[in-house]
C-alpha cells in the first residue's frame, strides 16, 4: 500500500470535519484494506470511525431494530431480533470478515454481490446519516454507487420488524459473496422481494411481489418468467443461470416463510 495518514476521531462531528475528496472513511476495512494493499487507491488519509462509540450496537426498540453503522456482521448475526437479518449476517464472508466488517461499511460500498443491500431494500429499512434519513429504496443507485454525498456518514440502519422474512443466498464458491441473494419479506406495507448479486445493484422483483401479494405461495411465482436481460454475467455464473437462481431462491424463501 501507499503511505497515508491515519486519523481516529472520537466524535461524529470531528469525523465529518476531516472528510474531503482526498480522505476515505475506514469502517471495517474489509474492502478498503485489500484495495489499498493492491495499490488500487491512494487516499491522503483514512478516517477511522471505530472510536465513535455511538455508532455501534444492535438496539431493538418496539417494532424497530436500529443497528449502529459500525456494528460488525458477527454482532448482527448474534443479536439481531429479525431472524432473516441475523441469518444473512451469519452468511457473510468468513469468521474473520464477520468480526471486522460492518453494516455501514457494507452498504456504503454497495458491492453488487454484497448481502446487506438485500436486507435494507427487502426489509424496507431507513438509513440515517449525520445529515438526513434515507429510505432503503432510494439509497442504492448503481454499481458501487449510493446517494451518499461528500461528508455524509451513515450513523445507523433501522429495520422495521417484518411479519415474516427469509433470505436465501447462493454463494460464489470462491469468494462466498452472493451470486444471487433473495430477501422475501412480509412487511407492514406489503410483500417485498429484493435481489442482490444478480444485477449491477440490488433491485426489487416487483412481478413476484405482486404475485405473492395476491397469493403468498411458491406456486404463485412458479410461472413468472425471470428475464436474464441486464443481469450480471461472469466467470462463475451467466445471466441466464442467475435468472434461474432468482426464481429458485425466491421459491425457497417463500417456502421457508410458509414452513
Amino acid at each position: 500500500m501507499y503511505e497515508f495518514n491515519y486519523k481516529r476521531p472520537s466524535t461524529l462531528d470531528e469525523a465529518a470535519a476531516l472528510l474531503n475528496e482526498d480522505t476515505v472513511l475506514l469502517a471495517g476495512g474489509q474492502t478498503l484494506l485489500p484495495t489499498l494493499k493492491q495499490r488500487l487507491a491512494q487516499p491522503e488519509a483514512l478516517v477511522d470511525l471505530s472510536a465513535i462509540e455511538s455508532l455501534r450496537g444492535v438496539c431493538p426498540d418496539g417494532d424497530q431494530l436500529a443497528i449502529g453503522s459500525m456494528t460488525t456482521h458477527a454482532e448482527v448475526a448474534a443479536k439481531a431480533t429479525i431472524p432473516a437479518l441475523a441469518s444473512l449476517a451469519k452468511g457473510i464472508g468468513d469468521a474473520q470478515v464477520r468480526n471486522r466488517g460492518t453494516i455501514g461499511g457494507s452498504i456504503a460500498n454497495n458491492d453488487p454481490a454484497a448481502d446487506y443491500p438485500a436486507a435494507v431494500v427487502g426489509l424496507n429499512a431507513v438509513i440515517t446519516t449525520n445529515k438526513r434519513a434515507i429510505a432503503g429504496d432510494d439509497f442504492f443507485t448503481d454499481l458501487f454507487e449510493t446517494v451518499l454525498e461528500e461528508g455524509e456518514i451513515i450513523t445507523n440502519v433501522t429495520f422495521p420488524q417484518p411479519d415474516a422474512a427469509a433470505y436465501m443466498k447462493f454463494d460464489n464458491p470462491a469468494s462466498r459473496y452472493a451470486i444471487v441473494g433473495v430477501m422475501v419479506a412480509k412487511t407492514s406495507n406489503g410483500i417485498r422481494v429484493a435481489i442482490t448479486g444478480a444485477g449491477p445493484c440490488v433491485f426489487r422483483q416487483t412481478e413476484m411481489e405482486a404475485a405473492l401479494s395476491s397469493n403468498f405461495s411458491t406456486q404463485s411465482i412458479e410461472n413468472i418468467n425471470v428475464s436474464a436481460d441486464g443481469l450480471n454475467s461472469d466467470l462463475h455464473a451467466s445471466a441466464e443461470y442467475r435468472a434461474n437462481l432468482i426464481k429458485v431462491l425466491a421459491k425457497r424463501a417463500v417456502a421457508q416463510i410458509d414452513g
Partner: protein, 783 residues
C-alpha cells in the same frame, strides 16, 4: 519399543509442536543483518516486445540500491533456466526448449513474466521504485490455450519453435491399438479435458540470498523441495557459483505439491544479485505473484478411444493428448505429460494394446509442471473415465467391468505394454472392500429416496494406479532424465546414544521427522524422542535428490534402512569383541545385540558409547558410529486402490453435495497409519477441488489471468468435503527393503475420476471438470 513408536504405530507428529506454538521457521521469518528487499517488475502483457527499458527515475528513488535486468545477468555470464528432462519426438529429434533467461531479454511471454529486480532498503521502497521503471512494450499476438497454440496460423511465441510445438512424443504399439479398435465389438470415444490448476501452497515461494565476501560463499535460503537439486542446477547450468561455494537451505517450507521442486527465476536472480551487490536480498512472493508465476498443473486436451469385446474386456486403448506446457519448459515439465503419464495408461487392467501420443505446446501462460500426482492424475482420469463410460455404453455394471479386466493377484510381476513392470497388488480385494464399505448393493434404494426429494444421486468409481518412488537412475536416464533419482541417508549416533539422521528427502508437510524417526526407533531400539531428523540444508546433509512423486519413504526411507544395515554390521563387530564371541554368533533385534544361545548382550546405546570411547575395542574397526548410504531404487512402486464417491445433485441449482467417500488404498507396508490417513485426506481434498471448483482461466482476448486471487480461484474448504472413510490393504512392495509404496499423491490422483464418474452417473450425461454449479445445472436441465 516397536509397538509404541516403531513401524506401524500412529505416533503423533514430532514436528507439529513447533508449528502449533508458532515457532516454525519459514523463509520470511529469517532476516539477515543489512538485508535488502527485492521486488520483481513483471510483464502486464501476455506477449510483447520490450522496445525500451528505462530505470533512471527508479534508481533515483529513496532507498533504491539497484535495478537489475536480464541483460545484466547475461553480461555476468548467468545461464538461462533449464529443463532437466529431454524428450525425444516421434521423428527422433529432441524436444525444443527455447532459452529461458531468468529475467526477460527482449520479449515477455506471459502475464507475470519477470522483467527486472528492484532492490531497496525496504520492501515499500522497492515497490514504490518499481512503479517508476519505464518499459516501452510493443504488444504481440498471444495464445493461451494449447489447442489454439498448436493450430495452424497461431501466433508464434518463440522464433525457434515453429508451430509452438515443443515435442510430439509417442509410446506403445500404434498398429496393434488401431487394429484392436477397428475390429472390436464396441469402441468408446471421448474428448476429455483435464483442467488447469494453480498449486496454492500455504507459504508462497521466497528466496533470500546472502554472500560472504570472506569465504566467497553464497548462501541461498529458498522454498525448495530439493535443495541439492537447486544447488546443482544453479551451479552447473546457471553458473551462479561453484557447487562448493553455494549452500542452499530450505528451512521449514509450508507446502509444495510439486510447485517448489523447480528452479525458478526469482531464486536464481536473488542468488546472483546478492554477490553482485554484496548485500543480503530477500524476496517473498505475494499471493498474487504466486498465482501468476508458480508453475501451474495439468491442462490437457485429450481424445481417447477404448476398444472392448462383448464381455467388456478391454482390447485396445488409443490416446491423443495435447499438453499445455506454458511459455517455457520448466524443470520437469517435459517428463510430466510423457513418462509420468503415458506409462500409467494401462491402469489396473490387462490391456493387450496401448498407444499414446502427446503433443506439447507452448502458450502465453505461466509454465506448467508437476503438481501433486504429476501426469498420473491425468492418466487415471483418462483410464477411469473411459472404462466407466464404456461400461455405461455397454450396459455393464461399472464395478463388474473393472473386475473383468483387473490384473490377477498371481500375475506379478506384470509387464504392461507401456514399459512399466508392476511388482505387486490385489485390485479386486480393494474393490470388494470399497463396495462393501459404501454398501454398493444398497445404492439403488438410496437413489430412489433422493429422487423422492427431487435430487439426483450418483455413484462413481476410480480404480487408480500410480508409479511412485521415482526411480531407478539407469531407467530414467535412458528415458531422458538429466539426473539420477536415488536418495541419501546418514545415520549418526551421538556418544550418549541419541541419533541424528541426515536425509536428502525434504519435509514440507509430509511428516518425515516422525516417520523416519519411527524407522530408527523400530530398527535400532532408540527412544523416538532421542532421534532427530535433519534435512533441507546442503551444508549439513549428504547430497540428496529431494521430495516429490511420493518417493520420500520408498527411496529416502530405504536409504535410511541401508545406513541402518551398516550400523548393525559395525555394531555386531563391536559387540562380538566386547562380549568375546564371534561376529557370526551375534544376533540383532531392535537395538539389542546378543550372543546366540546365551544371556550375554549389549544395547545399541552401549555399543555407540564404546564406538566413541574405544578403550576396549576391536583393532580392525574404525571408531565412531556414523554411517552414510545411498539407495538407488530397483523399480518404481505401484500404489493402487479403489475409491467410490457418492453424490447428490440439486437439479434446480446444480449444486453437488458429496455424501460419502470410501477410499481403499494399497500402500504396501505402512509406518505411521495416522500420517498416511492425513496424506490421503489432503490428496482427496486437492483432487476434489480440481473436479468440483478449482480452475485456472486465462482470458483468450487479453491473455490476462482471470483467476488471479481467491475471489475467483476457488479452493476447496473443509465444509465442501465429506467425512472420508479411508481404509488400506497391504500387499508389500517387493522391490524395496521397507515394502512401502507411497501415499502422498493417491488422493489427488484418484479423486477427480471418482467424483466425475459419480456426478455424470447422477446426471446421465458427460461433462468436463470442474463440475461447477452452472455446468451441472445446464446438464441437469438439458440446456
Amino acid at each position: 519399543m516397536s509397538t509404541e513408536t516403531g513401524i506401524g504405530a500412529s505416533v503423533r507428529r514430532k514436528e507439529d509442536k513447533r508449528f502449533i506454538i508458532g515457532k516454525g521457521r519459514y523463509l520470511d521469518d529469517i532476516t539477515k543483518p543489512g538485508q535488502t528487499y527485492g521486488y520483481f517488475v513483471r510483464s502486464p502483457y501476455a506477449h510483447a516486445k520490450i522496445n525500451d527499458f528505462d530505470a533512471t527515475e527508479a534508481l533515483k528513488a529513496p532507498g533504491v540500491v539497484a535495478v537489475l535486468t536480464g541483460p545484466d545477468m547475461e553480461a555476468d555470464g548467468i545461464g538461462p533456466i533449464i529443463c532437466g528432462w529431454s524428450i525425444t519426438s516421434k521423428d527422433g529429434t529432441p524436444h525444443k526448449a527455447p532459452a529461458h533467461p531468468a529475467l526477460a531479454i527482449g520479449h515477455v511471454r506471459y502475464v507475470g513474466h519477470q522483467v527486472a529486480l528492484v532492490v531497496a532498503d525496504t520492501l515499500q521502497q522497492a515497490k514504490d521504485a518499481a512503479e517508476l521503471v519505464e518499459i516501452d512494450y510493443e504488444e504481440l499476438p498471444h495464445v493461451v490455450e494449447v489447442g489454439d497454440a498448436l493450430a495452424e496460423g497461431a501466433p508464434q511465441i518463440h522464433a525457434d519453435v515453429p508451430g509452438n510445438l515443443s515435442f510430439d512424443w509417442e509410446l506403445g504399439d500404434k498398429a496393434a491399438a488401431e487394429q484392436a479398435i477397428s475390429t472390436a465389438h464396441h469402441v468408446t470415444r471421448m474428448d476429455l479435458r483435464n483442467n488447469r490448476v494453480i498449486p496454492n501452497a500455504m507459504e508462497p515461494r521466497a528466496a533470500l540470498g546472502e554472500y560472504d565476501m570472506g569465504t566467497d560463499e553464497i548462501t541461498l535460503y529458498t522454498t525448495s523441495q530439493n535443495p541439492h537439486v537447486h544447488r546443482l542446477v544453479l551451479s552447473a547450468f546457471n553458473g551462479v557459483a561453484p557447487e562448493h561455494k553455494l549452500r542452499v537451505i530450505a528451512p521449514d517450507v509450508g507446502g509444495g505439491f510439486g510447485s517448489k521442486i523447480f528452479i525458478y527465476s526469482e531464486e536464481t536472480v536473488c542468488a546472483w544479485a546478492t554477490k553482485k551487490l554484496n548485500l543480503p536480498i530477500k524476496w517473498t512472493a505475494e499471493r498474487s505473484e504466486a498465482f501468476l508465476s508458480d508453475a501451474h498443473g495439468r491442462d490437457h486436451e485429450t481424445h481417447a478411444e477404448m476398444a472392448f469385446d462383448s464381455n467388456g474386456k478391454i482390447l485396445g486403448f488409443k490416446v491423443s493428448t495435447k499438453a499445455n506446457v506454458g511459455c517455457y519448459l520448466s524443470t520437469f515439465a517435459s517428463a510430466v505429460p510423457t513418462y509420468l503419464y503415458g506409462t500409467l495408461l494401462n491402469g489396473q487392467y490387462t490391456m493387450p494394446a496401448i498407444y499414446v501420443e502427446v503433443q506439447a505446446g507452448f502458450t502465453n501462460t505461466a509454465p506448467v509442471d508437476a503438481y501433486r500426482g504429476a501426469g498420473r492424475p491425468e492418466a487415471t482420469y483418462v483410464v477411469e473415465r473411459m472404462i466407466e463410460i464404456g461400461a455405461r455404453e455397454m450396459g455393464i455394471d461399472p464395478g463388474e467391468i473393472r473386475k473383468r479386466n483387473f490384473i490377477a493377484p498371481d500375475a506379478y510381476p506384470y509387464e504392461t505394454p507401456v514399459i512399466m513392470t508392476y511388482d505387486s497388488g490385489n485390485y479386486a480385494l480393494a474393490m470388494d472392500k470399497a463396495q462393501e464399505t459404501i454398501d454398493y448393493a444398497g445404492f439403488d434404494a438410496r437413489k430412489a429416496e433422493s429422487a423422492q426429494r427431487g435430487k439426483l444421486r450418483g455413484i462413481g468409481y476410480s480404480s487408480f494406479i500410480e508409479a511412485c518412488g521415482i526411480a531407478p537412475s539407469a531407467a530414467v536416464g535412458s528415458l531422458g532424465a538429466g539426473v539420477g533419482l536415488w536418495e541419501s541417508a546418514q545415520v549418526r549416533f551421538n556418544p550418549t546414544g541419541s541419533v541424528t539422521v541426515f536425509t536428502g528427502s525434504h519435509s514440507h508437510g509430509q511428516g518425515h521427522e516422525t516417520t523416519f524417526a519411527q524407522i530408527i526407533s523400530d530398527q535400532l531400539g532408540v527412544p523416538i524422542d532421542q532421534v532427530e531428523i535433519s534435512h533441507g540444508d546442503t551444508g549439513k546433509v549428504p547430497f540428496g535428490m529431494g521430495t516429490y512423486g511420493s518417493r520420500s519413504l520408498a527411496v529416502g526411507g530405504s536409504a535410511i534402512m541401508k545406513a541402518i544395515d551398516k550400523i548393525v554390521e559395525k555394531s555386531k563387530k563391536i559387540a562380538a569383541h566386547t562380549l568375546e564371541a564371534s561376529v557370526e554368533d551375534i544376533e540383532h533385534s531392535g537395538g539389542v545385540f546378543s550372543v546366540a544361545g546365551t544371556d550375554k548382550q549389549m544395547t545399541m546405546a552401549e555399543i555407540a558409547f564404546s564406538a566413541y570411547v574405544p578403550h576396549n575395542y576391536p583393532a580392525d574397526v574404525e571408531p565412531g558410529m556414523d554411517e552414510t548410504a545411498f539407495y538407488d531404487p530397483l523399480n518404481f512402486t505401484f500404489p493402487a486402490g479403489t475409491h467410490i464417491a457418492e453424490v447428490e445433485i440439486d437439479p434446480e441449482t446444480g449444486t453437488t453435495e458429496i455424501l460419502d467417500w470410501v477410499a481403499v488404498d494399497d500402500f504396501g507396508n505402512i509406518i505411521n497409519p495416522m500420517i498416511v490417513e492425513g496424506q490421503v485426506h489432503g490428496g482427496l481434498a486437492q483432487g476434489i477441488g480440481q473436479a468440483l471448483m478449482e480452475n485456472c482461466v486465462y482470458d483468450k482476448e487479453s491473455g490476462q489471468l482471470l483467476t488471479g486471487s481467491y475471489m475467483d480461484y476457488c479452493m476447496p474448504r473443509a465444509d465442501d468435503l465429506p467425512t472420508f472413510r479411508v481404509e488400506t490393504i497391504n500387499t508389500p512392495c517387493t522391490t524395496n527393503p521397507l515394502g512401502v509404496k507411497g501415499c502422498g499423491e493417491a488422493g489427488a490422483i484418484s479423486a477427480p475420476a471418482a467424483l466425475m464418474n459419480a456426478i455424470t452417473n447422477a446426471l446421465g450425461k458427460e461433462i468436463d471438470m470442474p463440475a461447477t454449479p452452472e455446468k451441472v445445472w445446464r446438464a441437469a436441465q438439458g440446456l
